[in-house]
Symmetry: C2
Subunit: 243 residues, 2 copies
């Protein structure tokens, strides 16, 4: 852990950075994952490192969609596992959904390290990639999914997803909820709902919103949500002169 | 090396990414260096991945300053070494200046790995950190410099520098030329001349400009250069809606 006091203006960013570097040391995050994290840091900096209204609107829409899913699944890669293990377990519990490990640069050791790490954080239903089920429209190793998980899911929550797989899931008719700090990325533009926010800030907000809806108005439909319009608002925030 | 054809629109970015990941495998780049690289990627993407006029203006000013320096030094960290080893050696040769290894997260092994890597790429005058000379105004390990290198230099070319050290060098009255893709960073704002550009694109341009000036008009003063105004132009380019 970097020796930075809580009062430091960049404390949260530095704490998060240490978590992802620790992820590499634990064997759960890849070197390419660190570079992706750096890209996220830059976009978050341009966004003023806060959860904007467009993020809250996407979180609200995502909460409604996940509550009404028949077979929701939470897909986990090495970056997300390193950053928010407790929140992933909590979200899956709240939704009564399985967690499924699915990483971009495939490696059996890394998949196992992620599994073990999530189990240490209390994960109960944890699915691993399987050769028994394949996604269409994709050639890489990421096509292998679990038959009782992503393969049969109607709604997939998959933060920090890559563009190819997001596209393949959508083509198969599945709804995709993602978290991505770059509103211009292919994933952001392809997903059903894109939360343009730091996963560290937005996951607790999503969990809280799901609980709130469950407790008060589980059947009420959400507000109208237009992902493309929401992404345009996020891009304007990044490009705006003043934050 | 990623299996991406040269015709791929993101070929250069992916090739560069592979070079920096290879740097980690060779022990010359740190995990935190990968995150920094990712931040650079995001800013470069927003800049349209090209060398803008403000970068060319800074390169021209830097070439003039380096030509007229009495004791120029090229300071090298793990990211720059991994990305542009040949160009660093060429620049140092052209300027008849030493290369000096100076890394942010200090490690004797990594310093040695960088030294060896640069020597493989033809480096002749290569200075290592020494306990015999210290910079003022800085507490970290980065204060240790070589008495015949950074310590006595009047102009230091130090691409991808950190804010604290850049500030310390400036306070000691030294001129600093840096390369940084984030025009809002403390380094960018503190340096004498900031080239807001990808180091992979800008180093060959800087070497070519130095040679051109040497051959044609070595004594001619450069155009007026205002770093703050140049940085403002770079920030406008990043924030602009259209690229």
């Amino acid at each position: 852990m970097t020796d930075v006091p809580r009062s430091h203006p960049r404390y949260e960013s530095l704490r998060t950075r240490d978590a992802i570097v620790a992820g590499v040391q634990k064997g759960i995050t890849s070197p390419h994952g660190l570079i992706a994290h750096g890209r996220g840091e830059a976009y978050d900096y341009l966004l003023g490192e806060k959860s904007h209204d467009f993020a809250l609107a996407a979180i609200d829409a995502a909460a409604h969609m996940l509550i009404h899913a028949r077979h929701p699944v939470v897909s986990v890669n090495g970056n997300v596992a390193a950053l928010v293990p407790d929140e992933l377990v909590e979200l899956a519990d709240t939704l009564d959904a399985p967690l499924e490990v699915n990483i971009f640069h495939s490696s059996k050791e890394r998949e196992e390290a992620i599994r073990q790490f999530l189990e240490e954080h209390g994960a109960k239903r944890l699915l691993m990639p399987s050769r028994d089920a394949e996604l269409d429209f994709i050639d890489s190793n990421r096509k292998f999914v679990h038959p009782q998980g992503i393969y049969r899911a109607d709604v997939i929550f998959v933060p920090l997803e890559d563009g190819d797989r997001c596209q393949a899931l959508r083509k198969m008719g599945k709804a995709v909820v993602t978290v991505d700090l770059n509103p211009m990325s292919r994933t952001s533009r392809t997903a059903s709902i894109t939360i343009v926010d730091n996963v560290v800030r937005s996951l607790p907000l999503l969990i809280a919103r799901i609980r709130e809806l469950r407790a008060s108005a589980p059947e009420q439909p959400g507000a109208e949500f237009d992902n493309a319009r929401n992404l345009a608002a996020a891009e304007r925030a990044i490009r705006a002169e003043s934050r």
